[in-house]
């Protein structure tokens, strides 16, 4: 199944709007006064959606390979940027609600608490990916280097999951973190599998890397 250019534009627009629904929902619930503690809700849901979008972004390549949907690659940049967008909102809630923009206090907190440090590192590593997401940057860096840089996401996703795990760990409430561990392990595991396959059999058809958009 390959959508026509027109259909692809429609799909892109739909994904763009859908990805804003979580934000719209939390803005609505907050303004309506429906939440007893909106600050906690905003922090939680922006964190959750960062992880969702990281997983969705990481699912693009496997989906493309397994379903042979080459066109999904055209959505990857937008999905990745949404992961960054929600991560930025999540980080802003931390800086705002927890530290009221006191950067020195925030950095102290980051240094003192490993689970925050891990989340912070994951966020910082996402910044170069967001900055180099434009076509001009791809050209400037050159395809190979750009690709290498964007493999940072393989570090970011596990760090994000670790951050979530750590936050939940002391409450012995690991059902959700475990699910994320399984999903990220699967998504990254497939890549490792394919890489080894390719190494063992370099002449095999390489569907993963030949076409880039």
């Amino acid at each position: 199944m390959t959508p026509t250019p027109k259909q692809l534009t429609a799909i892109k627009a739909a994904v763009f709007v859908l990805a804003l629904v979580p934000l719209a929902r939390l803005v609505w619930l907050t303004l309506a006064g429906a939440l007893v503690e909106p600050l906690q809700f905003i922090t939680r849901s922006t964190g959750d959606w960062t992880l969702y979008f990281l997983c969705i972004t990481l699912a693009v390549t496997p989906l493309r390979r397994l379903a042979k949907w080459n066109w999904v690659l055209k959505l990857r940049r937008m999905l990745g940027l949404y992961a960054f967008f929600y991560a930025l909102l999540h980080f802003m809630t931390f800086l705002w609600f927890d530290h009221f923009f006191d950067v020195a206090e925030m950095l102290k907190d980051v240094a003192k608490r490993p689970f925050i440090l891990v989340g912070f590192i994951a966020f910082v590593l996402l910044i170069p990916l967001a900055v180099t997401s434009t076509n001009a940057m791809v050209r400037r860096l050159g395809g190979k280097r750009w690709l290498w840089l964007h493999r940072l996401v393989y570090i970011v996703a596990p760090l994000g999951v670790l951050h979530f795990w750590w936050m939940k760990a002391a409450k012995h409430d690991l059902a959700q973190p475990l699910l994320f561990v399984a999903i990220v392990a699967l998504l990254l595991g497939m890549r490792v599998w394919w890489a080894r396959e390719k190494q063992a059999n370099p002449t095999a058809q390489d569907r993963g890397q030949t076409r880039r958009v």
């Binding site: 303004l31 309506a32 006064g33 429906a34 007893v36 503690e37 909106p38 600050l39 906690q40 705002w96 609600f97 927890d98 009221f100 907190d109 003192k112 608490r113 689970f115 925050i116 750590w166 936050m167 002391a170 409450k171 012995h172 409430d173």
Partner: protein
């Protein structure tokens, strides 16, 4: 009724904020009574303010305010205090208890008081309600997660009960054991904690006049999600120290092994006094946010030592960093 005003000036009532029909009708009958001149003016003011406060559907629980032991802070809205709860027997999300606690049957209920006491005792709810005069006490409540509320509880000092059972010289601690019934409490099927929920106090802490055996809040019997029908409240400690839906109180020689301490000893000590200088390993305890009051636009408020209560004498000579 406290009306939340949204920034755009539009008020959107939620079903839970709508005054229940029974309360509304009571009020009408009450106004008619007033019009007929059968209620004096002083009582009128008192009752009106109480009615404005309590919007629950639970039976009323008459109690006189103990001003000497009450905080001056503005009480948290009833809806907030009953819809943002940690009560893992009903689920781990803050909204779970309000949603799931309907299955709890707070009556009939018995509490057995046993262990190192001369006169062990089993009391039903009426026995508990009659044991000592009920008082209303407005206490600050500080959760270990960094938020706080102010709640007008109804009950009496736990010491009233302790005195009745006459602890022996061996009694050094008091252990509180909560109900753990899978049928009434959906969260008990999960292994988040070792059930039943167990908490404890040193005997002198339990005997402190501020330690409240609690049967109600906001002038009504306790809502299920807040620990019906009987709980303790220890206002200078983090909220989780105050066991809910208690079925057993045991006096012991040795320090009881409490639920949270068993599950993460490095994070939840036996004492768990509110202490801005001792951080939780995963978050600072220096500041807190008052639910319903502190908004986005405000810096978090500073947490007070012992939550602002004058109980330091209980801990003289103790290193509170070690005994956290």
């Amino acid at each position: 009724m406290l009306i939340k005003r949204s920034p755009n000036g539009i008020d959107l009532p939620f079903p839970s904020e709508i005054t229940p029909r029974a309360v509304f009708e009571n009020r009408r009958a009450f106004i008619r009574q007033v019009a007929a001149g059968s209620i004096a003016g002083g009582a009128l003011l008192e009752m009106l303010s109480r009615e404005a406060f309590a919007q629950g559907v639970n039976p009323k629980l008459a109690a006189k305010r103990n001003a000497a032991l009450s905080a001056q802070d503005k009480p948290t809205a009833y809806h907030d205090a009953t819809h943002y709860n940690n009560f893992y027997e009903f689920g781990t999300d803050k909204s779970d208890p309000a949603e799931n606690a309907g299955t709890l049957r707070p009556r009939p209920w018995t509490v057995s008081i046993e262990g190192e006491v001369k006169k062990p005792l089993t009391l039903d709810l009426d026995g508990l309600l009659k044991l000592a005069p009920l008082e209303e006490r407005v206490y600050r409540l500080r959760c270990v997660e960094g938020w706080s509320m102010v709640i007008p509880w109804v009950g009496y000092s736990l010491s009233e009960l302790i005195k009745r059972v006459e602890p022996t010289g061996n009694a050094k601690y008091v252990e509180f054991i909560s109900l753990a019934d899978r049928k009434q409490m959906p969260g008990v099927s999960s292994r988040v904690l070792d059930w039943p929920y167990t908490e404890g106090l040193r005997l002198d802490e339990a005997n402190h006049p501020l330690t409240l055996l609690t049967l109600g809040m906001y002038g009504e019997v306790l809502p299920n999600q807040n620990g019906a029908p009987v709980r303790v409240v220890v206002p200078w400690k983090y909220g989780f120290k105050s066991a809910k839906s208690i079925v057993k109180i045991r006096f012991t020689r040795d320090m009881p092994r409490t639920s949270w301490n068993r599950s993460a000893p490095s994070e939840y000590g036996f004492y768990s006094n509110v202490n801005p200088e001792v951080d939780h390993p995963r978050w600072s305890q220096a500041t807190e946010r008052r639910i319903g009051e502190d908004s986005f636009l405000s810096r978090k408020r500073k947490t007070l030592m012992f939550n602002g209560y004058d109980v330091a004498s209980l801990y003289t000579g103790m290193d509170l960093k070690k005994n956290f």
